[in-house]
């Protein structure tokens, strides 16, 4: 496989701000590139130099383990110089605005900035102020495009397709950027998407995005090929959304009993980090026959390598 090929790759956008902005050929291009990196990541020598001499800045305003390390590793494997800003010690803590931070970083001529921010639209604002490409690693509750792309890659890896699959996304949809990005992407790729969650955790008019909504989990899981669980985002909850975690688990936690409604070969996914015993039964999460949670993390690096490669050029 010619990973090092210099063939010009065309993407219709300068930045990766959300799945909403992408065309289906953009998505196919990213997934195609990502597939090529899967085997590289499993090989002995994992490093290539297609981004040699390029500078990648990771700007994470919110705590993150997997996304940040995944982006860092992806950049390094491609040979880029990767700098991860430590926000807690930076000028932002001293009251600098996002635009001023952007201007400062821009003056250092990076080739790509990866940003995660607690405010929806922060990456859009940043992209208007810098010359380089901006990759969104999660903005507020709006989008988390690379997560959706790695989820799609994982599904394709296991099921060989997405078209025609019935996919359930369950849990805290209201606060979830992962849910939104996945809804756009899975719809685009021809899946049927079921949204499951308590009414208090469903965003207004979500059905207008072309999904079926359920507050009864068993009904929503009926004959599903994929069950995507979401983390209960307690840190974003400002007032009473739920009575208790144990009641939530009773009604919306993924248990073997509820999973029986889905197809026999249904796969379980979770973007992590998991709240075991709240949204998912701990044994199910670790069931190697059903859970692809670890594979999601693995393919995450490949997807981010593909995005860095494509948007750096």
């Amino acid at each position: 496989m010619a990973i090092n090929s210099n063939k010009a790759i065309k993407i219709s956008k300068k930045h990766l701000l959300g799945i909403q902005d992408l065309s289906i050929s953009d998505v196919n291009l990213i997934l195609f590139e990502a597939k090529k990196f899967i085997s590289l990541n499993k090989s002995k020598n994992k490093k290539i130099d297609i981004l040699k001499g390029k500078t990648q800045i990771n700007l994470f305003f919110e705590p993150s383990t997997r996304t940040q390390s995944s982006f860092e590793l992806a950049g390094k494997r491609l040979g880029a110089d990767v700098m991860s800003m430590n926000i807690t010690n930076s000028a932002i803590k001293k009251g600098e605005t996002l635009i001023d931070t952007a201007m400062t970083l821009n003056a250092m001529h990076p080739d790509i900035i990866v940003i995660r921010h607690q405010d929806s639209g922060a990456c859009n604002l940043l992209s208007q102020k810098v010359n380089c490409a901006v990759l969104n690693a999660g903005d507020g509750r709006r989008e988390h495009p690379t997560q959706a792309l790695l989820d799609a890659l994982t599904i394709i890896d296991r099921k060989n397709k997405i078209q025609g699959l019935r996919i359930a996304i369950c849990g805290d949809i209201l606060h979830s950027r992962v849910a939104r990005s996945n809804i756009y992407l899975l719809n685009m790729l021809g899946a049927e998407v079921n949204i499951i969650g308590p009414s208090n955790l469903l965003p207004k008019d979500i059905n207008k995005l072309g999904v079926n909504t359920f507050s009864d989990m068993k009904k929503g899981l009926k004959d599903c090929d994929i069950v995507m669980m979401l983390r209960l985002q307690n840190e974003r909850m400002t007032s009473s959304f739920l009575s208790s975690n144990r009641e939530y688990y009773e009604y919306y936690g993924l248990t073997p009993d509820k999973l029986n409604e889905a197809k026999n070969d249904a796969l379980i996914m979770h973007p992590g980090p998991m709240n075991r015993g709240i949204e998912i039964d701990t044994k199910l999460a670790d069931d190697i026959n059903k859970s692809v949670i670890k594979e999601q993390v693995e393919l995450g690096v490949a997807v981010r390598m593909a995005c860095l490669k494509i948007f750096c050029q």
């Binding site: 909403q20 605005t97 996002l98 635009i99 921010h117 405010d119 929806s120 639209g121 922060a122 859009n124 604002l125 903005d139 507020g140 509750r141 709006r142 989008e143 950027r177 939104r180 965003p203 207004k204 008019d205 979500i206 207008k208 995005l209 400002t238 007032s239």
Partner: protein, 428 residues
């Protein structure tokens, strides 16, 4: 001052039911001496010069019931001088200023300061509103009676809403006793908490916390129910949703009250927020196109009495932030009339009606002798080329703050001159 003669003008003065081509004579004291179709060349001494307006329009000076000024406390956003310059550029000659300043307009001593500043610095008529509660905290009433004696014409907490129902009923009782006008910004703060845009598909797509239309309806419904028992002069400052129109329609026969709407909610909808345009972060938020259309229908059914600019100057720095960090509000006093004329040009509302909602209706609610062209009154008026096309440019905004929400918008109709007390204060 020399006498002034204007002829061949399209005069609209809803207060006096005038809608005709005629002339206007202003006497040496800056007061209206004669007006209407009977004023023609024959009434003018042959040696006097007159201005032929060639059927351009004369409207009474606009009365804008909802204007924020930065003085005192936020002079860097807007002071009385810059506000009045912006106002006359839009044909506005009287404004009600909101009490959301620092300090808050909540006691008699600060009213003296305001009146002095308004008189010395402003070219227009400033009518300060005082707050309903001390320091806008929503707990203790201000001294309605004493403030009224100092010249306060209305009471409101501006951007804030009285949440406590018992307090609201007491405010209404006091306002009834003292014949004071209560102006409520209708928003249930628990329902709208952290909200930034209309709660709906746009909020869901942008990942922003929504403000449900119910937050507005619930307060209006509560207040109008209270009003059945405590019948004071009550005005809903702004409505934005069709649900609010419905409740107003239901209550109109039961109680006396009036309603306002921001020109922004009549002209724009939630789709205009686009890609996180912070200049369109407004309160109440822009809602759906169906809501916007229902507001226009409400105007034509006499359910809405007043159009306001909701002029809220914010400096560039407080808008160059992420959507959730950015300040709320838009500068708009100088585009109020032009944007309102869009409703005339697109056939939504008759011209006479628009002028009524911008002049005589607010004056009547406020019980002030403004917004009319009655003989003997100060000649506050504007000359308008209703058909002149122009484009709004941020850099040409007269207000100290340039946060217009209609940058680059093509409009038809512009103010040519504005006169206050018979003197030309603005010329394009």
């Amino acid at each position: 001052m020399k006498k002034k003669y204007f002829l061949n003008a399209n005069i609209i003065d809803p207060h006096n039911s005038i809608e005709e081509i005629g002339g206007l004579i202003i006497n040496e004291e800056g007061k209206i001496e004669a007006i209407g179709k009977k004023v023609n060349k024959n009434n003018i001494p042959s040696r006097e010069k007159f201005i032929d307006l060639k059927e351009k329009y004369i409207f009474p000076g606009l009365v804008d019931m909802r204007v924020f000024v930065g003085e005192p406390g936020y002079e860097y956003k807007e002071n009385f001088k810059t506000l009045s310059n912006a106002a006359i550029a839009g044909g506005v000659t009287s404004v009600v200023t909101m009490p959301n300043t620092s300090p808050v307009i909540d006691n008699v001593s600060i009213v003296d300061f305001l009146k002095r500043r308004g008189r010395d610095k402003a070219k227009i008529n400033i009518f300060p509103a005082a707050s309903l509660t001390k320091n806008l905290e929503g707990t203790n009433m201000t001294e309605f009676g004493l403030l009224k004696k100092k010249g306060i014409i209305g009471f409101t907490d501006g951007t804030k809403t009285i949440q406590n129902t018992r307090l609201m009923s007491r405010i209404m009782r006091s306002a009834y006793d003292l014949d004071c006008l209560v102006m409520q910004h209708a928003e249930d703060f628990e329902l709208s908490k952290n909200g930034m845009v209309n709660d709906g598909i746009i909020a869901t797509k942008l990942g922003l916390q929504g403000i449900p239309d119910l937050a507005e309806k619930i307060i209006i419904e509560r207040d109008l129910t209270l009003l059945e028992d405590f019948n004071c002069r009550y005005h809903v400052s702004q409505i934005s949703a069709s649900k609010s129109v419905d409740i107003i329609d239901q209550k109109k026969d039961l109680v006396d009250f009036t309603t306002g709407v921001s020109i922004n909610n009549l002209s724009l909808n939630e789709n205009d927020v686009g890609d996180f345009r912070t200049f369109l972060k407004l309160s109440p938020p822009l809602r759906t196109e169906d809501d916007r259309v229902s507001l226009i229908k409400a105007i034509n059914k006499d359910l809405i009495d007043v159009i306001v600019s909701d002029h809220k100057p914010e400096d560039e720095e407080s808008k160059r932030l992420t959507f959730s960090q950015a300040a709320t509000g838009a500068s708009g006093i100088e585009t109020l009339l032009s944007l309102s004329l869009e409703l005339f040009h697109n056939g939504s509302v008759k011209l006479f009606k628009i002028v009524e909602l911008l002049t005589s209706n607010p004056a009547k609610i406020l019980k002030i002798n403004k917004g009319n062209l009655s003989i003997g009154n100060n000649a506050d008026f504007c000359i308008v080329d209703v058909y002149k096309p122009w484009i709004v440019k941020k850099e040409k905004i007269v207000s100290k703050s340039k946060n217009t929400c209609i940058d680059d918008k093509k409009l038809q109709g512009q103010v040519i001159n504005t006169f206050v007390k018979g003197e030309e204060m603005f010329k394009i």
